[in-house]
Amino acid sequence: MENRWIAYLIPPFIVTLLLVAGSQFVFIQNSFYQDLGLGRTGTDLTLVNYLNFFTDSFYLKTFWITIKVSALASLFTLFLGFPIAYVIARMKSRLAMLLLAGIVVSTFVTIVIKVFGLIIIFSADGVLNTTLMNLGLIDRAYSIIGTQEGIVVGLMHFTIGFSVLLLYSVVVTVPPSLEYAAQIHGASRWRVYQRVIIPLCTPGFVVGGLMIFNMCMGAFTSAALLGGGRVLTLPVLVQRTVMMEVKYSTAASIAFVLLVSVILINLISLIAIRRLRSARLVIA
């Protein structure tokens, strides 16, 4: 019975596989041929695109900035998201559901609209600068657009909703009675967090943090709009290389470096956390 239905799934599976894996394969394969510009490639298999990437300080700098802004954005988002998630998870009233719904809805508002909101507030002639200058607190407009800080803010804006939802689902798994037990046996509020809530949420922080990091590494819109052409990240660079420079092989190699580095960072983080946890058990 079940097998008969599975048979119906084979054609869509093949189509999907061809579309996703096939196009990826063609794209990545392209990166192993020399880029001759304007979409033309050489005929011999070569690593010259990758050599270019890893020897060009511009590419390396962009690569580093991408990792840096993504890591910072994920870290800050976790810090910002945890208290929100904690408060909602511990709420007894129906307001919690309302707040969660609000977060879900705002998360699915397109990032373009959200980034324009940021631009309205933070640009040189935006609300924030005008107000501060009128109050005489600053004498020169400061804009985050076109700065790394700007991209970090944009990425946080993009991921905060996801982080609250992720962390909410982690906090609700910690029974409140554990907090009562810790408190009654002498722990202050701060110690309750330190010894009970945070250790129990750590696996969630790691997984959630990595998911947010991955979203940031691949984020295009907020990085492109807030980078303003002055600060580039790898996804923006890939788009430019394809659209403006028409260098497909080069773009493919950059994309592949991005893909592999994200996978490696995830693997290394998970292994490192596992090491740390088993080490802790030995100490205890």
Binding site: S177, Y180, A182, Q183, I184, H185, A187, S188, R195, L200
Partner: protein, 355 residues
């Protein structure tokens, strides 16, 4: 360690009063049980003693110290929760030592105390296991050890045996009582299970709708319930509507639907007072013929007969319409539904309730 004193404690949430003017004097080393149906205010009272909630009015003392308004972590209490609330990321030893670390004991002292407690709860072999790797009964013992590790002023237990099966619950009752007595700790225990309360407590506080109905030893409460609620809640009871006819010393004549009942009671009552007469099912005997003058005797028909091993539970429908429940030895009593019988009991076994 110390006694605990509650003075006129009131706790209200908006217009609902959860605990209404409760005063209690818990002696040092005493095992006191708060017993009552759900919503009677027993858990609220426990939470007030723990400090997780603060009374609307009234004061709480531990020994001579006024602890009203003091946060739970500064009250020196131990608490056992219904769901154990063991820390899943810590081993059995670390769980027991949790409060000791928080109270800044040094490493050697922690180890010594934890080993002592592991011996007390007979769980030495499970020291390095995690809560997910031990059984429910073991987890309960660990929770108790954690609660008493840093000797508390008072040990609070919130229905700690509720999640265990019947056999294990009975073993744990003895076990909890043993640990409490070995440590000589003051304990406040919350339960809705009257047999649990009877088995373990020095004193029982029966609560209903936010007030204390009665305080007393298990025997005292069972033998002399002071209200219909207590009589019904602690064990089974038959309640008959009566009037006082005459009273000479302790011998009181009652009128029950035109029939004379004699009761031996301490209270002095005025003629004509409407009272409830309470008789325990095990104090009643069934006979085919009316018993002698020295006993009370009413006529009826057997309406139900249940055999449950050690006892026979028989219901007798009286002429008045009331049904009397009787518990008796199965060997000596073989009555069938429809048999005309007499129910008999001694005047000393009568209990008068005013309501």
């Amino acid at each position: 360690m110390s006694g605990v004193k509650l003075d006129n404690i009131v706790k209200s949430y908006g217009s609902t009063v959860a605990v209404n003017d409760v005063s209690l004097d818990i002696k040092e080393g005493e095992f006191l049980t708060l017993l009552g149906p759900s919503g009677c205010g027993k858990t609220t009272t426990l939470r007030l003693i723990s400090g997780f909630i603060q009374p609307t009015s009234g004061a709480i003392h531990f020994g001579d110290k006024d602890v009203t308004g003091i946060a739970p972590q500064h009250r020196q209490i131990g608490m056992v929760f219904q769901d154990y609330a063991l820390f899943p990321h810590l081993t059995v030893s670390e769980n027991i030592g949790f409060g000791l670390v928080e109270r800044r004991y040094d490493k050697a002292a922690i180890k010594k105390r934890v080993d002592e407690l592991l011996a007390l709860i007979k769980l030495e072999e499970a020291a390095d296991r995690y809560p997910s790797e031990i059984s429910g009964g073991q987890a309960q013992r660990v929770a108790v050890a954690r609660a008493v590790a840093h000797p508390p002023s008072v040990l609070l237990m919130d229905e700690p045996l509720g999640a265990l099966d019947l056999k294990l619950r009975e073993t744990m009752q003895t076990e909890l009582r043993r640990i409490q007595q070995e440590l000589g700790i003051t304990a406040v225990y919350v339960t809705h299970d009257q047999s649990e309360a009877m088995n373990m407590s020095d004193r029982i506080v029966v609560m209903n709708a936010g007030i204390i109905e009665q305080i007393g030893s298990p025997k005292g409460i069972y033998a002399n319930p002071q209200s219909v609620f207590v009589a019904n809640f602690i064990g089974q009871v038959n309640i008959l509507d009566c009037h006082v006819t005459t009273q000479v010393d302790k011998t009181t004549e009652l009128d029950y639907h035109g029939q004379k009942i004699t009761a031996q009671i301490e209270k002095s009552l005025r003629q004509g007072t409407a009272i409830f007469l309470a008789i325990r099912p095990e104090d009643i005997k069934i006979t085919a013929r009316a018993a002698g003058k020295s006993q009370n005797s009413l006529k009826g028909v057997v309406s139900e007969a249940l055999f449950s091993g050690n006892v026979m539970k028989i219901s007798v429908a009286l002429d008045s319409g009331d049904v009397i429940k009787v518990e008796c030895q199965p060997k000596a009593n073989s009555f069938d539904i429809g048999d005309h019988v007499h129910v008999n009991w001694l005047p000393e076994d009568c209990n008068i309730l005013l309501n």
